[in-house]
């Protein structure tokens, strides 16, 4: 059963330490999981790490298109799990970075088709070959979520400063293994709106989630442009968002850098959220 996952004979990875498998999740859809996976992965690879990005959103894949690799995908996750292709057949090397690879999701299959045990084994195999295995989790908390979490040891929660997103993130944190210490990225902050009291502040968000803060990223229209082009902003020296992702990658890699932050003063007007969510144990 493991044949399809065997490392190529000439692999130089024989005695490397196991890489870290991190799932990027949120509960709520559309908050920036895929964008974050693509950009953090790109930034880590730019630092010289060997990185593989795994799209676990079977049926609704988008990591390939965000990376601009959609026309290069020949085989996908399920092909590997079902031994219709080897891992090497399926891994797509990034256009720009030598050490960044993509394992795409299947597009015309269902999330329920993924066997959790096989998924775990696959992530283990990838950890043996890569420094970082970043798993792009689908929205929701069903099978897709469970399979994305299987095999990971660490989670990054992506959350936007909106009530629904915070609520869903809170739910997800509660579903992760107890011994994990997930970290938080607050995405799409609009400091001006926060100042006017029309948007939750980071403190409002993390007052509920209570997670170590990995980074705060402002809403930037260029993200749309970057996705249109398939060129992650982490490659763009001029982009603030790109800089934020690069800083996040540095933190993940263990550098003692401050979390990127565009935080304004907290307004603390959303008292109702406390009573709504209660305290999480």
């Amino acid at each position: 059963m493991m044949e399809a996952f065997e490392q190529p004979a000439e692999s130089p990875q024989a005695v490397r330490p196991l890489g870290r498998a991190i799932v990027i999740t949120s509960g709520k859809g559309g908050v920036g999981k895929t964008t974050t996976t693509a950009n953090v992965g790109t930034a880590l690879a730019a630092r010289g790490a060997k990185v593989v990005l795994v799209d676990a959103d079977v049926g609704l894949r988008n990591l390939d298109i965000v990376l601009g690799l959609e026309s290069r995908v020949k085989y996908h996750l399920l092909d590997v799990l079902e031994e219709k292709a080897t891992l090497d057949d399926a891994l797509v090397r990034d256009k720009r970075s030598e050490s960044l690879y993509l394992l795409a999701a299947a597009q015309t299959r269902e999330k329920e088709d993924v066997d959790t045990g096989l998924m775990k084994a696959l992530i283990e195999t990838l950890r043996a070959r890569f420094d970082y295995v970043l798993i792009d989790c689908p929205a929701g908390i069903e099978m897709g979520f469970k399979n994305a979490v299987a095999g990971a040891q660490h989670a990054i929660i992506v959350c936007t400063p909106e009530v629904s997103a915070v609520r869903d993130a809170d739910r997800v944190v509660g579903l992760l293994p107890n011994d994990w210490r997930p970290e938080l990225i607050v995405n799409r902050l609009r400091p001006l709106l926060v100042k006017k009291g029309k948007m939750l502040s980071v403190d409002d968000v993390n007052g509920i989630l209570r997670l170590p803060l990995l980074g705060v990223i402002a809403d930037e229209p260029n993200v749309i442009v970057a996705t249109n082009r398939g060129e992650p902003l982490a490659l763009d020296a001029l982009s603030e968002t790109g800089a934020a992702y690069r800083a996040i990658a540095a933190k993940i890699a263990g550098e003692d850098v401050p979390a990127p932050d565009v935080r304004p003063a907290s307004t603390g007007i959303f008292n109702k959220l406390g009573s709504l969510f209660g305290k999480r144990g």
Partner: protein, 200 residues
């Protein structure tokens, strides 16, 4: 502020059009459950086969799909510009007769997937890697070509309309050379004509 950067530091074409083209290709691939490179090969082969029988305007060819009740239909709209001349030989090259006025051979913004061994000029609206809507990419020479012809066949320019005539002339010259090479090769092998090996 973003506009400033866009104008002065990012002269790339607007991304909306890029996005649309990428999306069309990806959806075609999704709908047909075929890998994108296979879709590209399918389109190339389709145009190659059709151009054996009639002359086509590949720049205007469009291959899309349509959802129907029980299946997906692939629709190809391929403008036919003329009939093959009498004495048509096995070469799949669309004969370089002067195009009927007012139509002139022109390229759109997509790079030309010119495979000179087949003598067929196929302009594709979208294209397999590296970049589907780039103005500058050289075409990967067909591996069937001899190196000398391969270097001739790569075309990097998107020619503006004003130089269309001279560009057409250059293309005809290249095709004649490629045709000659193909014939030599075919005679050497005395196998099937090269147009039969229109696989990617």
């Amino acid at each position: 502020m973003i506009d400033f950067f866009n104008k002065f530091f990012r002269p790339a074409p607007p991304s909306g059009a890029t996005a649309k083209e990428r999306l069309r290709l990806v959806l075609l691939s999704d709908h047909l459950s075929l890998a994108p490179d296979v879709v590209e090969s399918l389109k190339r082969d389709l145009l190659a086969v059709i151009s054996r029988y009639v002359e086509i305007d590949p720049a205007q060819a469009d291959v899309t799909f349509e959802r129907r009740d029980h299946d997906v239909a692939m629709l190809a709209s391929i403008p036919i510009t003329g009939v093959r001349r009498p004495g048509y030989d096995e070469s799949p090259e669309p004969t370089p007769t002067p195009p009927p006025a007012p139509r002139s051979v022109r390229y759109d913004a997509s790079p030309v997937a010119e495979s000179a061994s087949r003598g067929v000029a196929i302009a594709e609206k979208t294209q397999a890697p590296p970049d589907p809507v780039s103005l500058e990419l050289p075409m990967t020479p067909d591996p069937l070509l001899s190196p000398a012809v391969a270097s001739e066949s790569t075309s990097t320019e998107v020619e503006p309309k004003s130089t269309a005539t001279s560009a057409a002339h250059r293309r005809r010259r290249r095709r004649r050379k490629a045709n000659a090479a193909a014939k030599r090769s075919a005679q050497a092998q005395s196998g099937p004509p090269l147009n039969a090996s229109a696989q990617a």
